[in-house]
């Protein structure tokens, strides 16, 4: 790795990361994360009954299908349909979450229309209408998400303390330069992961903080894998003659296999879970895609960014050490002169 390429690599890596982090911060600041189902604000249509849905599942299925046809026939997009049953009683609720912009006046009048349609539509061959059979009540709701901030700042403090511990441990057990680099890489990985999630509009709820913590822990592991190899290699006689940049580049190259094994193991599981998420629930898909991003970011930073940063730090510290180790002839001459004069 030439001096130019180290600086170039570092410059390009940092510029890309900074641009993404700043862009992500702006997107987050102005419109926040794309909310997943646990944190979204929505307008819903609720069809509640007296418990008939719980005892007659074909009635429930028919009711759901009829309502869905009516709602979509009106031009609304339904992002989710859920059935919930009263835990202590028998009453049930079908909730249709409407996506996109929904005008309140329109949905209010449609609620009345759906109510009337259910009062007119008979269920199968029962001879009774949906409304009469289940004592149906149709209403709409507008729900606004209330963010809970305490866990966000407390987790941020927890991650901050973890970063301090990381720096202290790596500085003591490895080298101070490696401690600084691990710290920068960990902060970079957490921020970049969150920024890319915001930029790509990957749905995220309060659990996005778990992805941040995952990025931190994975970053620590992958960076230590690289620094562990460096620590081992720098003690070898044949590596002592290499320049800082060459030694770092060689160790980074040789630790690629180990980093990739760990990253592939984690990524393989996440890819499978993401595929499962596409089938069973979109929240699972979006969560695992976020975690997969963390794996990619941490792998990139441990193999590209960290070695580039540490190469520069090591180069400077080696130069300083060499400067200190130089034999000072001028000082020796002056000392001899003084000794002669005193003698």
């Amino acid at each position: 790795m030439s001096k130019l390429s180290v600086k170039k690599t570092l410059f390009i890596s940092l510029v890309i990361s900074l641009v993404l982090i700043i862009a992500g911060a702006f997107v987050f600041g102005f419109i926040g994360f794309n909310p997943d189902s646990s944190s979204q604000e929505y307008t819903s249509l609720e069809v509640a009954d007296n418990g008939y849905m719980a005892i007659n599942t074909s009635y429930r299925t028919a009711l759901e299908e009829f309502c869905l046809d009516e709602i979509e026939g009106q031009g609304y997009d339904v992002s989710d349909v859920s059935y919930t049953a009263e835990a202590s009683g028998g009453a049930g609720r079908l909730e249709f979450i409407l996506s996109g912009d929904v005008a309140e006046e329109d949905v209010a009048s449609f609620t009345q229309a759906l109510d009337s349609a259910l009062a007119a539509q008979t269920f199968a061959e029962s001879g009774s209408t949906f409304k009469d059979l289940g004592d149906i009540s149709v209403t709409y709701h507008q729900a606004v998400y209330e963010p809970h901030y305490e866990y966000i700042w407390r987790t941020a403090i927890g991650i901050g303390v973890a970063l301090v511990l990381l720096f202290a441990y790596v500085a003591i057990r490895f080298k101070v330069g490696m401690g600084v680099t691990s710290l920068i890489a960990a902060v970079h990985d957490v921020l970049l992961t969150l920024a890319v999630i915001a930029l790509l509009r990957i749905p995220a709820g309060p659990t996005v903080i778990c992805i941040a913590a995952f990025a931190l822990l994975l970053s620590v592991f992958l960076n230590l894998k690289v620094f562990g190899k460096m620590r081992q290699d720098f003690r070898l006689e044949e590596r002592k003659d290499l320049s800082a940049r060459e030694a770092v580049a060689l160790s980074a190259r040789e630790s690629r296999k180990g980093v990739f094994i760990a990253a592939i193991l984690a990524a393989a599981a996440l890819v499978v879970l993401a595929v499962v998420g596409l089938i069973v629930g979109f929240d699972l898909f979006s969560f695992t895609i976020g975690a997969l991003l963390a794996v990619i970011v941490c792998t990139y930073s441990s193999l590209v960014l960290s070695p580039a940063i540490y190469a520069l730090i090591k180069e400077k510290s080696d130069a300083r050490r060499a400067e200190r180790a130089k034999y000072n002839y001028a000082s020796e001459k002056a000392n001899k002169k003084n000794a002669n004069q005193e003698g």
Binding site: T139, G228, A269
Partner: protein, 500 residues
């Protein structure tokens, strides 16, 4: 290790591991009716994302649902139909008392067309205060995940996870929490049997007297709610108990939250102490809920006067999709199997030690997440386990590769194993130590999803440390004692014969 000892250990450990695997992952099956065998994995407490939970909607006094309005309307229509002409129906017409507002109905006492918010200013202020305290209660309760939404501007919808793997217990805990967290008003210590009646003596439960409330294990009596007094509170409580027991030998002291009786305890003498332990057969979950309610009712700024209707609560499906937990478990199982087969093919004898080591890791992790009550497994916890598993596998592969490299330098197999493990030791210890420290910091400081994820990671990485540094190595020595050709057993190639 001798061959006989090794063979005995292999048989013994294999039997133990198979037994533990059976206990850990076997699907539920009936034993003797109505009992059924449940594996450790099936009793893991899962979060709202994997196992669903419960939700309720808090309706403040003066606000009713459309369903309730329609019931009142039907009742009025029926009474009006059966009332003789010229006479007033005995039931009030809800159309005169309520006005429709979005998906709810507002009482004419609180609705206002002049303010622009649909309600009177005083109601809007009271609702904002109540919302703030309700949010604080759920936040302080330390749930793995929950959602609060304001629905139709003046009702509060709260969604919480199941707090027990048993549905009946989970329902009971949810109902208790929904009800207790709707209580308005401040705390009052009194001997009165009703909140609105004056007692012999009373003490207000404000921050002047109460420092906080915590919980403690009370042995056979379940869990206790511990109320810690300030010095002024200690004196006030001494005075209160002294007055109450001056004329009677024992008296029941009640604690009210607003108009609702929170708990009662028998007092049989003057009590001059920093804290009182109140037991009542509470489970840990209920005791924590009561303690949270007390903690969020002692400060004046947290006390609100809006009364909420005792809420209905509904069960809801997992956010990640139905059967998500089962499908994820199957996928992880298949991936683990693939990894173990790969290890056997790639590292032969060392791979076998890794298989045993990983199974030990897996059963230990399953035991921890199912038997430690503080653990609730969410998607965050699952990626924490996956990360710890990847780290363990990676550390074992690193050690095996080092052994291989040492062997390639011409050392004997025994020397290669020693040198390979020695070479990997510093890195393995460092990685596990720093990850344990980092996850410990996050677990101790963070709340919510990150707190639960960090706990699962902390347990998993600690188990990984033991399994990587000790268990897998032990298994390796145990297996290597068996074959005649040890070099072929671990898949190495060399012309010379081994020195053992």
């Amino acid at each position: 290790m001798g061959k006989k000892k090794s063979a005995a250990l292999i048989v013994l450990i294999t039997i133990v591991l198979v037994g533990l695997l059976f206990l850990s992952i076997t699907p539920t099956f009936p034993v003797t009716s109505p009992n059924s065998f449940r594996s450790l994995l099936s009793i893991v407490d899962l979060g709202r994302d994997l196992d669903g939970g419960y939700y309720t909607v808090y309706y403040p006094e003066g606000v009713i649902s459309k369903a309730e309005y329609e019931t009142l309307k039907a009742e009025y229509d029926y009474v009006a139909e059966n009332t003789e002409e010229g006479q007033t129906p005995s039931v009030e017409d809800p159309a005169e008392n309520y006005v429709a507002y979005k998906g709810i109905y507002l009482s004419t006492d609180i609705s206002s067309s002049e303010t622009g918010t649909g309600v009177t200013e005083s109601f809007a202020e009271s609702f904002a205060d109540a919302l703030s305290t309700v949010k604080k209660r759920y936040e302080e309760r330390g749930l793995s995940d929950y959602t609060i939404r304001v629905q139709d501007d003046y009702t509060i919808r709260v969604e919480i996870p199941k707090l027990d793997h048993d549905d009946a217990d989970a329902e009971s805990i949810a109902q208790n929490m929904f009800t207790l967290f709707s209580y308005s008003g401040g705390l009052l210590f009194t001997d009165s049997h009703a909140a609105n009646e004056a007692g012999t003596a009373e003490m207000e439960g404000t921050s002047e007297y109460i420092r906080n409330a915590t919980t403690a294990d009370a042995g056979d009596s379940g869990y206790a709610v511990v109320i810690n007094f300030t010095s002024a509170g200690r004196e006030a409580f001494r005075s209160l108990t002294s007055t109450l027991t001056s004329s009677e030998s024992s008296v029941t002291l009640y604690i009210y939250a607003g108009d609702n009786q929170l708990m009662g305890a028998t007092v049989s003498g003057e009590m001059d102490q920093d804290a009182v332990y109140i037991t009542g057969g509470y489970t840990q979950e209920v005791a924590e809920t009561v303690a949270t309610l007390i903690n969020t009712s002692i400060s004046d700024s947290d006390v609100f006067d809006l009364t909420f209707e005792s809420p209905e609560y509904y069960s809801m499906d997992a956010l990640m999709g139905n059967s998500a937990a089962l499908i994820i478990a199957i996928c992880i199982g298949v991936l683990v199997l693939a990894m173990l087969i790969f290890s056997l093919v790639k590292f032969k004898g060392m791979g076998l030690a890794h298989v045993y080591g990983f199974i030990t890791f897996a059963v230990a992790v399953i035991a921890c997440i199912s038997l430690i009550p503080a653990v609730q497994l969410t998607m965050g916890g699952i990626i924490a386990i996956l990360a710890a598993a990847a780290i363990m596998v990676s550390c074992n592969y690193y050690a095996f590769n080092n052994i291989k490299k040492e062997f390639a330098t011409g050392k004997t197999l025994t020397a290669s194993i020693k040198a390979g493990y020695k070479k990997s030791l510093a890195f393995t210890i460092d990685v596990h130590a720093i990850l344990i420290l980092a996850s410990l910091a996050i677990w101790l400081i963070a709340t919510g999803p990150a707190h639960f994820m960090a706990l699962v990671f902390l347990l998993s990485i600690a188990i990984s440390a033991v399994c990587t540094l000790l268990v897998t190595r032990f298994y390796f020595y145990m297996f290597i004692a068996q074959p005649k050709n040890k070099i072929a057993f671990v898949g190495f190639k060399r012309e010379e014969t081994e020195d053992e």
